[in-house]
C-alpha cells in the first residue's frame, strides 16, 4: 500500500503525502519521490546487492516550505552525483527551519528506473497541519 497519492498535472507529476508528524511527512515525501523514480529489482534479477550507504544532510531555510523543497532537491542532487536511490531516512533534528538527517542510499544498479525527476517545485506547494498530523502537496518537474 503506497502512502502517497498522485495529483493530475499535464506535463509533470504531483503527489499528496501525509505524516503523523513533520519527520514522517518529510520521510514519506522523500520515499514517494524515489518510489516514482525507481523500483527495486526483484531478487531473481539481482546480480549483487550492494551495501547501503548512509549520507548525512544538513539543511537550513527561512521557512518550512523552503526547507521541504530544499530537502527533496538535495536528495535528488545527491542521488544523481552519488548514483544512489535513497530508501530510508532518519532524522537527528527537524524543525521548521532546519534539519539534520541521514539518508540511506542503495546502488542504482539494484533498481529499475521508471522516471527522471528533475526537481521538486514551489508551484502549488501546500504544507498544512491536519487533524491527523501533516499533509503536503508538491509538483515535480519530470
Amino acid at each position: 500500500m503506497k502512502n502517497y497519492e498522485l495529483i493530475e498535472h499535464t506535463a509533470d507529476i504531483g503527489i499528496r503525502v501525509k505524516g503523523k508528524d513533520l519527520e514522517e511527512l518529510f520521510r514519506n515525501a522523500a520515499g514517494a519521490m524515489f518510489d516514482i523514480i525507481a523500483q527495486r529489482k526483484s531478487p531473481r534479477h539481482h546480480v549483487t546487492t550492494s551495501p547501503v550507504e548512509k549520507i548525512n544532510l544538513k539543511q537550513e531555510a527561512e521557512n518550512l516550505e523552503e526547507l521541504f523543497i530544499n530537502w527533496l532537491n538535495e536528495l535528488l542532487s545527491l542521488s544523481a552525483t552519488k548514483e544512489k536511490i535513497f530508501c530510508d531516512f532518519k532524522f537527528k533534528r527537524l524543525s521548521e527551519r532546519n534539519l539534520e538527517a541521514g539518508a540511506y542510499g542503495c546502488a542504482i544498479k539494484d533498481y529499475k528506473i521508471n522516471a527522471e525527476i528533475k526537481a521538486a517545485t514551489y508551484h502549488q506547494l501546500k504544507i498544512e497541519q491536519t487533524k491527523a498530523g501533516w499533509q503536503a502537496e508538491v509538483i515535480f518537474d519530470v
Binding site: T10, I13, S77, I108, I113, N114, E116, A119, Y122, H123
Partner: protein, 487 residues
C-alpha cells in the same frame, strides 16, 4: 478531463489570437495573449496554463504582453509555450523558473542525401545501432568523458569544444543558434555540485520526452524554401531532442533558491514562488545569467556529441563516411532559455530579456544574428511532434519580430497528463499500431512509451497551422517518423 478547468476571460482578437485582459487580476502589468484556434483553445482551457499566462504578466519590467503559443500547456510557474520579455533598463527581471530546470532543452535537425527507399530495410539496424551507441535513459553516462578542466571549457566553448575534439565541423557551428556558444558564460557562477552532476553526462540523450528520430519528408509547403534547403519528398532526416541534463537542473535549483530571497530584497510580488526572479542588472540576476549561459553551452555541446554519435552509427550501417551520406546539420534551436536581445517596443529599440519556455526563437530574414546562408530565408525553426504523427521545418518571419519578439511554438504540447496516459494506454497495442504505420520505437523503459504516446499530445499539425496562418513562422516541409529512440 472533459470539463473546462480554466474559466477566466478570453477576448477574441481574431481567429488565432485571444486576450486575457490586464484587468483579470490586479498585479498584471500587461495583458496575456494566447495564439490558438477554437480547437486548440478547448485543450488549453482544460488545464491551468492560461492562469499561468496571467501570472507571468506580473513580472516587473514585462513589455507588450505575456504570450502563450498554440502548444501552450500547464507547467510549474511559467506555462510551457510561454514567451515573456522584460525591459532591462526599466528594472526588468530574469527568472530561473521562467527558463526551467532543463536549460537549453532544444532540438536539432540534420538532413541526409538518402531516400526512404534506400533505408527501408535498414531502419531496424539503425534504430538498434542508435539505441546501443547513443547513451539514453535516466542518469545515463556517456563514453565521452571529460576532466574537470575540460568541463569548464565546455561551459564556455559549447559546441566548439566538441568540434575541436573532432566531433563535428565548423559548418555545424554556423548552423547552431548562437553558433553553439552564447557569449558571457561565467563558469565561476556554476556550483561545484552542478559540475559534479554534469560531469559524466556529456553525449547522453537523457530521458522523459527526449528522443532521437529518423524521419522522412512527407510534404513540401514552399518549393522555393525547400530548394534553398535542398530538401525533397522522401528524403531522410534526423532529429535530436535533448538538453543540459543534470548540470542545468542544478543551476536552476541553485538560483531558484537565491531568487526566492530576491523577492523580499527587491520588493517583487509574484503570484507563484516558482516565478522567483531578480532584476537582470542585479548581482543575483547577472550571476544567474552567467550560470544559465554555461548550462546552455553545455546543452549545445551535448547535442553536438549526440549528432556525432548518430553520424557514426549511420557510417557503420551504410559503410560510408557521413559526409558522403550528406549528413549536414540544418539547424539547432534552444526552446528553454533567456536571451538578451534587441527588439522594437512602441517604436523604440530596447534591450530586452526574452524568456522562451517551450518556445523557439524564430528570427526573420535579414536578422544580424543569422549566418549568411539563412539571411534570405529566415531562421530555420524545428518543431518536433509526437512519435506517431509529424514534425516540421519552418522559418522565422518579420511578423514574429514585430509581434512575439521573434518567437514561435516549440512542439505539439501535452494534452494528457503522464499519469492519465500511463493509466489509459496499452503499450503493446500502441507499439503494434505504430509498427503498422511503419514506425519502429525503442525506449529505455515501457513507462516512457506510454507517457509519450501520441494520444498524450495535441496534434502538431494543428499547432503549426496556427503559427503559419498567423504569420509568426512559415511552413517549409513536414516529416513523418520512421524510427524513434526514446530516453
Amino acid at each position: 478531463m472533459t470539463s473546462e478547468i480554466w474559466q477566466g476571460p478570453l477576448e477574441k482578437i481574431d481567429d488565432f489570437r485571444w486576450r486575457i485582459p490586464k484587468s483579470y487580476k490586479p498585479g498584471m502589468r500587461v495583458p496575456g495573449i494566447i495564439y490558438a484556434d477554437e480547437k486548440l483553445l478547448k485543450d488549453i482551457k482544460q488545464d491551468k496554463a492560461a492562469e499561468q499566462v496571467a501570472n507571468v504578466a506580473f513580472m516587473p519590467g514585462i513589455v507588450k504582453a505575456s504570450f502563450g503559443m498554440p502548444d501552450l500547456h500547464w507547467g510549474y510557474g511559467m506555462p510551457i509555450g510561454g514567451v515573456v520579455a522584460t525591459d532591462i533598463d526599466e528594472g526588468g527581471v530574469i527568472g530561473a523558473g521562467l527558463v526551467g530546470y532543463d536549460i537549453n532543452c532544444g532540438v536539432r535537425m540534420l538532413k541526409t542525401n538518402l531516400q526512404y527507399e534506400e533505408i527501408r530495410n535498414k531502419i531496424k539496424d539503425l534504430v538498434y545501432g542508435l539505441f546501443s551507441d547513443v547513451p539514453s535513459g535516466l542518469g545515463s553516462k556517456g563514453d565521452i568523458r571529460v576532466s574537470p578542466r575540460e568541463e569548464k571549457e565546455i561551459l564556455v566553448k559549447g559546441s566548439r569544444w566538441a568540434v575541436e575534439k573532432g566531433y563535428g565541423t565548423e559548418d555545424d557551428l554556423e548552423c547552431t543558434e548562437e553558433y553553439g556558444a552564447i557569449q558571457g558564460a561565467d563558469p565561476a557562477a556554476v556550483s561545484d555540485r552542478a559540475y559534479e552532476r554534469g560531469k559524466a553526462q556529456s553525449g547522453t540523450l537523457g530521458s522523459g520526452n527526449h528522443f532521437l528520430e529518423i524521419q522522412a519528408v512527407d510534404q513540401l509547403y514552399d518549393r522555393g524554401l525547400c530548394d534553398a534547403f535542398s530538401l525533397d519528398l522522401g528524403q531522410i532526416m534526423i532529429m535530436i531532442h535533448s538538453g543540459s541534463r543534470g548540470l542545468g537542473y542544478q543551476v536552476c535549483d541553485d538560483y531558484t533558491k537565491s531568487m526566492i530571497h530576491c523577492l523580499t530584497k527587491y520588493n517583487i510580488s509574484v503570484p507563484d514562488r516558482q516565478l522567483a526572479c531578480a532584476p537582470v542588472n542585479s548581482p543575483e540576476g547577472k550571476a544567474y545569467l552567467g550560470a544559465m549561459k554555461c548550462a546552455a553551452n553545455y546543452a549545445w555541446a551535448n547535442r553536438q556529441c549526440l549528432m556525432h554519435l548518430t553520424r557514426k552509427v549511420f557510417e557503420k550501417v551504410f559503410g560510408s563516411p557521413w559526409q558522403k551520406l550528406g549528413m549536414n546539420l540544418i539547424y539547432d534551436v534552444a526552446h528553454n532559455i533567456a536571451k538578451i536581445e534587441k527588439h522594437m517596443v512602441s517604436g523604440k529599440e530596447k534591450a530586452l530579456c526574452v524568456h522562451r519556455k517551450g518556445a523557439t526563437r524564430a528570427f526573420g530574414p535579414g536578422h544580424p544574428a543569422l549566418p549568411e546562408r539563412y539571411k534570405k530565408s529566415g531562421q530555420p525553426v524545428i518543431i518536433p511532434g509526437d512519435m506517431g504523427r509529424n514534425s516540421y521545418l519552418l522559418v522565422g518571419t518579420q511578423k514574429a519580430m514585430e509581434e512575439t519578439f521573434g518567437s514561435t511554438c516549440h512542439g505539439a504540447g501535452r494534452v494528457k497528463s503522464r499519469t492519465a496516459a500511463t493509466r489509459s494506454i496499452n503499450v503493446d497495442m500502441l507499439l503494434k499500431e505504430l509498427e503498422s504505420k511503419g514506425i519502429m520505437v525503442k525506449a529505455s523503459g515501457r513507462g516512457t512509451i506510454a507517457e509519450e504516446a501520441p494520444q498524450a499530445y495535441k496534434d502538431v499539425n494543428d499547432v503549426v497551422s496556427v503559427v503559419h496562418n498567423v504569420g509568426i513562422s512559415k511552413r517549409v516541409c513536414r516529416m513523418r517518423p520512421l524510427g524513434v529512440i526514446k530516453g
